[in-house]
C-alpha cells in the first residue's frame, strides 16, 4: 500500500521571512523552448461514472515565451475602467478535427464528436461502469495515432455531508470554511480527488430600472450637442449568477484512515471579504475516486506547480501520464482518468453566518458609491466647463463603461445632467449571467 502524505509548507516561514522573499520575476528573456516539445499533444479525458456526455479535451502545448501570462503581474480579473473580462493567459491551442473514441472491455465503442474547437463530447451519454476497463484512441487530423493504457473504473465512494462553518483560517482571517465528510466502501480504492463548482448570486448595487439610450450623437463641429435619454432596461441586469469551476488540485488518501472515513475535510475557505458570498452562495462538491495512475499524475502536476517551501522544491520533470503515441518516440501529456464521481450541493446565505456584518466589498475593488457625472457636451445641460473636463458621457456609453443612476439637477463644473456609475455596478451581466441556473434554490 502506498501512502500519500503531503508535506505542505506555506511559502514563507519563520524568522528568515524577515530577510527572505519570494517575488514574481520576468523570465521571458531567459527561456527559450527549443526542446521540440512545443506542440506536444495534451489529452485530458475524464470518464466519470455519471450518465452524461463524456468529454475529451485535446490541445497543443504552447511555447512558454508566447504565453504572456507566465510573465504578467497579477492582473485583476475585473477592472472598472475596462469592464471586459480578461482571459486567463492565451487559452489553449485547440487540436481540431481529430477522431476520438473510447473502447470498453466489453467491446463497446463510444464515438466522440467535436462540439467546440478542441472539445470532444461523446455522441451518446454513457457512464463508466464498475468492473470495466476503458481505452482511449485518438487519430489526429494529421494521421498520428495515440492510445491509452486500459483503465479500470475505481470503486465509488460516498459523500456523507457537505457543510459550512464560520471560522478562522491558518492566517487568522475570518470567513466560512466548507467541509465534507466522506466514506469509502473499502480501502481498495482510497484515493480521492476533490473538485467543486461554485455558483453565487450577484446583485448590482447601483442598478436602476432605467438605462441610457443615445438619441443622437450630435455634431460637435457644427455645435449640435448629442442627445441622450433613459429607457426601461431590456433585460434582467440586477440579479445574476456566476458559476466557476475550481482550479486547484485537491487530493487525499483515505486509505490510512480506519473505517475509510474522512471527517471534516476542508474543501474551500472563503474569507469574509470575498464578494462571492455577499448574498447567496452554492457549492457543488465533486468527489472522484481515482486510480493509482491518475492520483500520481495529479499529484505530480500539483507538486510541480506549487511552492512548498522557500528552501526546497520538488524536482520537476516530464509529466508522464497513461496516453502514448502509438508509433512511439513522441511525447504526450495525457491522462485518461476513469473515475467514480459523486457530488453534493450546499447553499447558504451571507446573513446565515454574518447577520449583522456589512457586506463584503464589491467585485474588482470597485467603489460603487462614488457617482460620476460626465458632461454631455450640451452647454444648456452641463455645468460650467473648463479646459480639461473628463471624457464626455456619450463616448462612455458607447464603450459600455457607465450605467445610468439618477438625474443631476444641479451640475457643477465639468458635470453633466446625469449621475452614472461604472457598468459593473449597475449591470450584473458583466460578472455573470442573468439566467437562473436550473439547480438554484432560494
Amino acid at each position: 500500500m502506498k501512502f500519500h502524505i503531503k508535506f505542505s509548507f506555506c511559502s514563507l516561514i519563520f524568522i528568515l521571512i524577515c530577510f527572505s522573499c519570494v517575488e514574481p520575476i520576468d523570465v521571458s528573456d531567459q527561456i527559450s523552448s527549443d526542446s521540440g516539445l512545443e506542440g506536444t499533444l495534451v489529452v485530458e479525458a475524464t470518464i466519470t461514472s455519471s450518465e452524461i456526455k463524456q468529454v475529451v479535451l485535446l490541445s497543443r502545448m504552447r511555447k512558454i515565451e508566447d504565453d504572456s501570462s507566465v510573465n504578467s503581474q497579477n492582473q485583476p480579473l475585473f477592472s472598472a475602467n475596462s469592464p471586459i473580462r480578461i482571459n486567463n493567459g492565451l487559452g489553449p491551442v485547440a487540436e481540431e478535427n481529430a477522431r476520438v473514441e473510447i473502447l470498453d472491455s466489453n467491446g463497446n465503442n463510444f464515438l466522440f464528436e467535436e462540439t467546440t474547437p478542441g472539445r470532444y463530447e461523446s455522441e451518446d451519454q454513457f457512464a463508466a461502469m464498475p468492473g470495466t476497463g476503458y481505452t482511449l484512441n485518438i487519430i489526429t487530423s494529421e494521421g498520428s495515432e495515440y492510445a491509452s493504457n486500459q483503465v479500470q473504473t475505481p470503486v465509488a465512494s460516498t459523500i456523507d455531508s457537505v457543510y459550512a462553518e464560520r471560522t478562522f483560517n491558518d492566517r487568522g482571517v475570518e470567513g466560512i470554511a466548507i467541509y465534507t465528510d466522506s466514506s469509502l466502501p473499502s480501502s481498495a480504492s482510497s484515493l480521492i480527488r476533490y473538485a467543486y463548482e461554485e455558483t453565487y448570486k450577484i446583485i448590482a448595487p447601483n442598478w436602476t430600472p432605467l438605462e441610457f439610450q443615445i438619441i443622437s450623437e450630435g455634431d460637435p463641429g457644427a455645435g449640435i450637442p448629442p442627445q441622450v435619454t433613459t429607457v426601461p432596461r431590456q433585460r434582467e441586469e440586477r440579479v445574476c449568477f456566476r458559476t466557476e469551476p475550481s482550479t486547484g488540485i485537491q487530493l487525499t488518501d483515505v486509505g490510512s484512515l480506519e473505517n475509510n472515513r474522512l471527517r471534516r475535510y476542508e474543501i474551500r475557505f472563503l474569507s469574509m471579504s470575498n464578494p462571492a458570498i455577499s448574498h447567496r452562495y452554492s457549492i457543488l462538491v465533486k468527489q472522484y475516486t481515482l486510480t493509482d495512475e491518475s492520483y500520481a499524475f495529479y499529484e505530480s502536476l500539483d507538486n510541480f506547480s506549487s511552492s512548498e517551501n522557500v528552501f526546497s522544491q520538488v524536482q520537476p520533470g516530464f509529466l508522464e501520464g497513461n496516453v502514448f503515441s502509438v508509433s512511439g518516440g513522441e511525447r504526450v501529456i495525457g491522462l485518461l482518468d476513469v473515475t467514480s464521481e459523486v457530488s453534493q450541493r450546499l447553499f447558504f446565505n451571507y446573513t446565515d453566518f454574518f447577520p449583522d456584518a456589512p457586506l463584503p466589498p464589491y467585485f474588482g475593488n470597485t467603489n460603487c458609491d462614488r457617482l460620476l457625472s460626465p458632461p454631455i457636451g450640451d452647454p444648456a445641460l452641463d455645468g460650467p466647463t473648463e479646459q480639461n473636463c473628463p471624457q464626455p458621457l456619450t463616448e462612455r456609453i458607447k464603450l459600455g463603461l457607465v450605467e445610468y443612476v439618477d438625474q443631476n439637477p444641479d451640475p457643477s463644473t465639468c458635470e453633466g445632467p446625469y449621475f452614472v456609475t461604472p457598468t459593473i455596478c449597475g449591470d450584473c451581466n458583466i460578472l455573470g449571467s442573468n439566467v437562473v441556473p436550473d439547480f438554484w434554490e432560494e
Binding site: S20, P24, G91, L257, F304, V310
Partner: protein, 936 residues
C-alpha cells in the same frame, strides 16, 4: 652564582645567556700523557672524582661547580691514563674536557668540544651557519664548531640551552633534536605547534601528543615556536648532539589574531594527503557570518571544492558529490544532520568544537562508508587546571560553554549548551501568517576527558540537538540528533598505540499533525547506528607509520511509521518494516618515505555490508522496469538472515614528492563504497529526507577519485599556494522517478533510479597565514554531471544523457580577509562569487483541469543568475590586561552588505488557474548583527 676558587677551580663566568663564548684555540697536541691512575670511589659525586683525579694526576682542573650535579656514582678505575679516566668519569654527563699538556691543566667544558684546529672554511663562511643540505652537497662532513654571535633580540625571555654532548670524532652533519610541547596552564600536549628554525627553511610540527623531532646541523640555532592561542616562543639552543628540548607553552594574551594557523602550512607541503583541510574553529571567529553565528560548515564552504546548492540549503556538496556522500563525525560518531534551521546554522557548538579535519580526497583508511568526504570534527579537551567558560549572546542564539577540571592535571569536563529564541521575533512581526509559526532549536554537549597515565586516556562524549518548527498551524515538525561516544587511547609501547571507540548515533524526525478532521497523526522516522572501531598505530622501523584496525557498525532503521493522534483521530497505524544491516571494514595503511623527498601512503580497506532480516523483499522480472507491475516474487527472510551482502576492497593511495623543502607535488587515488543513501525528491536537502540502507534491489554506491596537485610555500612561509585537480566517477548514485513517492513507501525501489556521476575540477587556493592582513583566496573551476540511463523510458532522466547536477557551479570564487588594525580592533571581509546553479525551467504551457500549467522536460538545462555576496565585520576585543577577570569580544557584522538579491530558486506556480514565475531568495537584504562573547 656560587663559585669555588681553590684546588685549582677556575671561575668560568657565565657572561650572559645570549653572549657565550666557547671557542678556544690551543695549538697544542694532546700527545703523551702520564699513565697509571687508580680510582676506587663508592657513592661519590663527580666533584669528589675530579678532586681525586686532580690529586693523583697533578693536573689542575678548571670548571664551574654549577656544571656538576649532586648525583652520586661508584667509579672504579685501575691503572688507567688520565684520558681514559676522564672518559669514564664524564661519560654520563654533558661535560667534555681538554687537556693542556704543557701547562698541566685540564679544562672541563659544558657541552662544547675544544678543537685544536680551525675548520676548513672558517674564514670563508664567516658567521653563517651551514644548512645540512648544503653540507651534504659540498661534501663537508665534519661538524662545524659552534660559533656564536650576539643575539640582537634583547626581548628573549628564555636562556640559552645547550643540548647534547659533543663527541670527539663525531662528525655527523645532522643531529636530531626532539621533545614534547605542553601547555603550561593545562598540562596538555600541544599538537600542531609550528617550530621554525630562524634563518633557514627548516620547520616541523608537533604531533597529536605534542612530540616533535627536528634534524639540525650542530651549532647555534634560534627556534621560533608558535601556535594559535599560545604565546610565541623564541628559544636559543646550541646543539652538540642528539638531544631533547621540551617546550612549555604559555597561553597567549593576544591570541586569535590571525585567521589561519600557520601550522597547517607545512602540513600541506609535507603530508601525502591531497584534498585535505583543517579548520580550527577559533579561526572562524572573525569571519562575518549570518546572524553572527560562528559556523564551521559555512567556513568550509569558502574552501575550494565544497559548496551547497545555495544559501539556506542543507547539505554540502564536495567535489561534485551528492549531499548524502559526506561522513560528518563529531568525536567519531556520525552526525546525520549537522545543521539547524534548514541549514542556516550549524548544529555544532562553536565553543566546544576544537577543529574539523576535512578530507575531500585521500581519506584516511580508518574512515569509510561515504564516497565524497569526511568531516572529522573534534570536541576540545577541557582545561584540567582551571575553570574556564565562554558565553555569547547573538540576535538568535545564546551559547554557554564551560570547562571544568575534575581531577587536577588529569581530567576535565566540557559542557556546552546553545539555544535559539527566534519565536519572539516571529511574534513581533507584523505579518499575521507568522504569528502561529514557531521555530526553535537547541543543542547540548558534554565531554569528559581523563588522562589516566602516560599510556592511557579515556574520553566520553554525549550530544543532543533538536529542532522544532511549525509552518502551518496544524503541523509541528521536529528532528533531532543524538550521539554518544566512548573512546580509549592506549599506548602499548613507544611504537604502538591503539584507539578503541564505541559510538552510538541516532537521527529522527517527526511530524505531528493536528488538523480539524479525523486525520490527526504522529509520523516518525528514525535511524540508529552503533559502531565499534579498534584502530592501531605502529611505527615500524624508522620510516613506516602503519595504521590498521577493524570497524563494525550495526544499523537499525525505522523507515516510517504513522500513528493516530488524539482521541478523535481515525488514522490507522502503519509501521513500515524495520531495516537492519551490518557494515564492517578491515583496514591497513602505511605511510613511509622512499627517500628524503618521496613519501608514499598506501592504504587498503575491505568494506563489507550485509542486509539483515527479518525482512520482506521483492524481486522483479528480469529485463523489465522495476515497478508495481513487474514484481516477480516476494521473499521473506527470518531474523538474523544476512539476505544480501555487498563489499569490496577500497584503495587509498597517495604519493608526495618534495621538489624543494617548501614545494611539493602530490598525487592520489582512492575508491569507496557507500551502503546508505538519502531518499529525497527535492532539488535540495530537507530535514524530512530519509536514509535508506542498501538491500536486495538497491545497490551500494561506488566511486573513485584521482587527484594531482602542487603545493608551494613562499615569502618566508607566509604564503601558501596550492593547485589541485581531480577527476571523480560515481556509480549507482540514487535519483528518483519524476514525482516519486518516497516516504512511507514499502517498495521504494520502484521509485528509485541508480545511475552514474562524474565530476572534475581544478582548485586554486592562496593563503596568507600571518601578518596584519591575512586570509585566503580560493577559486575553483569544477563541473559535475549525472546520467540515469536505462532501456526503459520511465527509468531515464533527460533521455539517458549526462546532465549538470543541481549544484554544478563552474566558477566559484571566495575571498576571506582579515585585517588587524591594533590588538583590539580588526576588520574582516568575505566575498563569494558563484555561477548560478542549474534549474529545470519549463518548456511550454498547457491547460489541464481548468488551469494553466507549465511542462518540464530536460532537467537542469537553465541556470539562475550568478550569486555574489560581500560580508563585512568589525571585531573588538576587550583589553588584554592579564589579570582581568573575563575577556570580552564584540563582533559586529553585516551579512550581504551589497544587499544583492541572490536568487535561491526560480519556480513556477499555478495559482487560481494562472501560471506565475517566482524567484525566491533567502537573504535578500543586508543583515546586521551584533554578538557579544565573553571568556572567563
Amino acid at each position: 652564582m656560587p663559585t669555588r676558587f681553590g684546588s685549582g677551580v677556575f671561575l668560568i663566568s657565565r657572561v650572559s645567556s645570549s653572549l657565550i663564548f666557547c671557542l678556544f684555540f690551543f695549538m697544542v697536541s694532546n700527545a703523551q700523557e702520564p699513565a697509571s691512575l687508580t680510582v676506587d670511589l663508592d657513592d661519590s659525586t663527580l666533584l669528589d672524582v675530579i678532586l681525586e683525579l686532580e690529586k693523583q694526576s697533578g693536573y689542575h682542573f678548571f670548571f664551574s661547580e654549577t656544571w656538576i650535579g649532586d648525583k652520586k656514582n661508584t667509579l672504579t678505575l685501575y691503572n688507567v691514563t688520565l684520558t681514559e679516566a676522564l672518559d669514564q668519569a664524564l661519560n654520563e654527563t654533558d661535560l667534555n674536557y681538554y687537556i693542556l699538556e704543557n701547562e698541566k691543566r685540564v679544562i672541563l667544558l659544558q657541552n662544547a668540544v675544544i678543537y685544536d684546529e680551525l675548520p676548513n672554511n672558517f674564514f670563508v663562511q664567516g658567521d653563517t651557519l651551514i644548512p645540512s643540505a648544503q653540507l651534504a652537497d659540498t661534501g663537508y662532513n665534519r661538524s662545524p664548531p659552534v660559533l656564536l654571535e650576539n643575539s640582537t633580540d634583547s626581548s628573549t625571555r628564555y636562556s640559552l640551552v645547550r643540548i647534547g654532548k659533543a663527541e670527539v670524532g663525531q662528525f655527523r652533519s645532522v643531529f636530531t633534536l626532539s621533545g614534547k610541547a605542553t601547555n603550561v596552564s593545562t598540562g596538555k600536549p600541544v599538537p600542531d605547534l609550528l617550530i621554525r628554525v630562524q634563518g633557514s627553511n627548516k620547520t616541523t610540527l608537533t604531533d597529536q601528543e605534542g612530540v616533535y623531532a627536528l634534524e639540525l646541523p650542530p651549532g647555534y640555532h634560534v627556534l621560533l615556536v608558535s601556535a594559535l592561542g599560545l604565546e610565541e616562543m623564541e628559544r636559543e639552543i646550541i646543539l652538540y648532539n642528539d638531544g631533547t628540548l621540551d617546550l612549555k607553552m604559555k597561553e597567549g594574551l593576544e591570541e586569535l589574531e590571525e585567521v589561519v594557523v600557520e601550522a597547517k602550512t607545512l602540513r600541506t607541503i609535507e603530508n601525502t594527503d591531497t584534498g585535505s583541510e583543517k579548520i580550527v574553529l577559533e579561526e572562524s571567529k572573525n569571519i562575518p557570518l549570518v546572524l553572527g553565528e560562528r559556523d564551521i560548515l559555512q567556513l568550509a564552504k569558502a574552501l575550494p571544492g565544497i559548496s551547497s546548492a545555495g544559501e539556506g540549503a542543507t547539505g554540502l556538496n564536495v567535489r561534485g558529490g551528492k549531499t548524502d556522500q559526506n561522513l560528518v563525525l563529531l568525536d567519531n560518531a556520525v552526525i546525520y544532520n549537522p545543521t539547524h534551521f534548514f541549514g542556516i546554522f550549524q548544529a555544532l557548538n562553536p565553543f566546544t568544537t576544537e577543529s574539523a579535519e576535512i578530507y575531500k580526497a585521500s581519506i584516511p583508511v580508518e574512515f569509510g562508508g561515504r564516497l565524497s568526504s569526511v568531516f572529522d570534527i573534534q570536541t576540545l579537551n577541557g582545561n584540567t587546571n582551571e575553570f574556564e567558560g565562554e558565553a555569547s549572546i547573538g540576535p538568535v542564539t545564546a551559547n554557554l560553554a564551560l570547562q571544568i577540571p575534575v581531577v587536577k592535571e588529569k581530567s576535565s569536563l566540557v559542557v556546552g549548551g546553545r539555544g535559539a529564541y527566534a519565536d519572539w521575533i516571529l511574534r513581533t512581526l507584523d505579518d499575521e501568517s507568522l504569528n502561529n509559526s514557531e521555530a526553535s532549536f537547541y543543542d547540548g554537549i558534554v565531554k569528559y576527558h581523563h588522562k589516566l597515565n602516560d599510556n592511557n586516556e579515556i574520553q566520553a562524549t554525549a550530544y543532543l540537538s533538536k529542532d522544532d518548527f511549525s509552518i502551518t498551524q496544524d503541523s509541528l515538525y521536529n528532528y533531532s540528533n543524538r550521539l554518544a561516544t566512548l573512546k580509549w587511547n592506549h599506548r602499548y609501547s613507544e611504537n604502538t598505540a591503539a584507539t578503541l571507540s564505541l559510538t552510538y548515533s541516532g537521527y529522527r524526525f517527526g511530524i505531528d499533525y493536528d488538523g480539524e478532521g479525523n486525520s490527526d497523526f504522529d509520523l516518525n522516522y528514525d535511524i540508529d547506528e552503533t559502531s565499534f572501531v579498534y584502530k592501531l598505530f605502529s611505527q615500524v622501523g624508522k620510516s613506516h607509520r602503519v595504521d590498521y584496525g577493524i570497524s563494525t557498525k550495526f544499523y537499525s532503521v525505522n523507515p516510517g511509521s504513522i500513528e493516530p493522534a488524539g482521541e478523535e483521530s481515525e488514522v490507522s497505524p502503519v509501521v513500515i518494516e524495520k531495516e537492519q544491516a551490518i557494515e564492517g571494514a578491515l583496514f591497513i595503511g602505511d605511510e613511509f618515505d622512499l627517500s628524503d623527498r618521496l613519501q608514499l601512503s598506501v592504504g587498503l580497506r575491505y568494506a563489507f555490508f550485509a542486509a539483515a532480516g527479518p525482512s520482506t523483499q521483492r524481486t522483479y522480472q528480469e529485463g523489465s522496469p522495476t515497478n508495481e507491475g513487474t514484481v516477480a516474487d516476494t521473499l521473506s527472510f527470518g531474523s538474523g538472515d544476512l539476505y544480501k551482502t555487498y563489499g569490496g576492497p577500497e584503495v587509498r593511495l597517495s604519493v608526495r614528492y618534495l621538489l624543494d623543502e617548501d614545494f611539493s607535488v602530490k598525487a592520489g587515488f582512492n575508491n569507496a563504497f557507500q551502503f546508505i543513501h538519502t531518499l529525497s525528491n527535492n532539488t535540495t536537502v530537507s530535514p524530512i529526507d530519509t536514509w535508506k540502507l542498501s538491500d536486495l534491489n538497491i545497490k551500494p554506491q561506488t566511486g573513485y577519485q584521482a587527484t594531482l596537485g602542487i603545493y608551494k610555500l613562499f615569502g618566508d612561509h607566509r604564503y601558501e599556494l596550492s593547485l589541485e585537480g581531480y577527476y571523480k566517477r560515481m556509480d549507482n548514485v540514487l535519483d528518483f522517478k519524476t514525482g516519486a513517492n518516497l516516504f512511507l513507501n514499502e517498495n521504494v525501489e520502484t521509485q528509485v533510479l541508480q545511475g552514474r556521476g562524474k565530476a572534475y575540477g581544478v582548485e586554486f587556493l592562496l593563503k596568507k597565514n600571518t601578518g596584519r592582513l591575512n586570509g585566503w583566496f580560493g577559486y575553483t573551476y569544477s563541473r559535475s554531471f549525472y546520467r540515469f540511463d536505462s532501456e526503459f523510458s520511465e527509468e531515464r532522466i533527460n533521455d539517458g544523457e549526462y546532465f549538470p547536477s543541481n549544484f554544478d557551479k563552474p566558477h566559484d570564487l571566495s575571498i576571506i580577509a582579515n585585517y588587524r588594525l591594533t590588538r583590539r580592533f580588526s576588520f574582516s571581509g568575505n566575498f563569494v562569487y558563484q555561477t548560478g546553479r542549474p534549474v529545470t525551467y519549463p518548456v511550454g504551457t498547457f491547460r489541464f483541469n481548468n488551469a494553466d500549467y507549465v511542462a518540464f522536460s530536460d532537467r537542469n538545462q537553465f541556470r539562475i543568475p550568478d550569486f555574489y555576496r560581500l560580508d563585512l565585520g568589525v571585531n573588538i576585543e576587550g583589553n588584554h590586561r592579564k589579570n582581568k577577570l573575563a575577556h570580552s569580544f564584540w563582533s559586529i557584522s553585516v551579512y550581504n552588505v551589497l544587499g544583492r538579491n541572490n536568487p535561491y530558486s526560480v519556480f513556477f506556480v499555478t495559482e487560481n488557474g494562472e501560471i506565475k514565475a517566482l524567484q525566491s531568495s533567502i537573504f535578500a537584504v543586508p543583515i546586521p548583527s551584533i554578538t557579544y562573547n565573553i571568556k572567563f
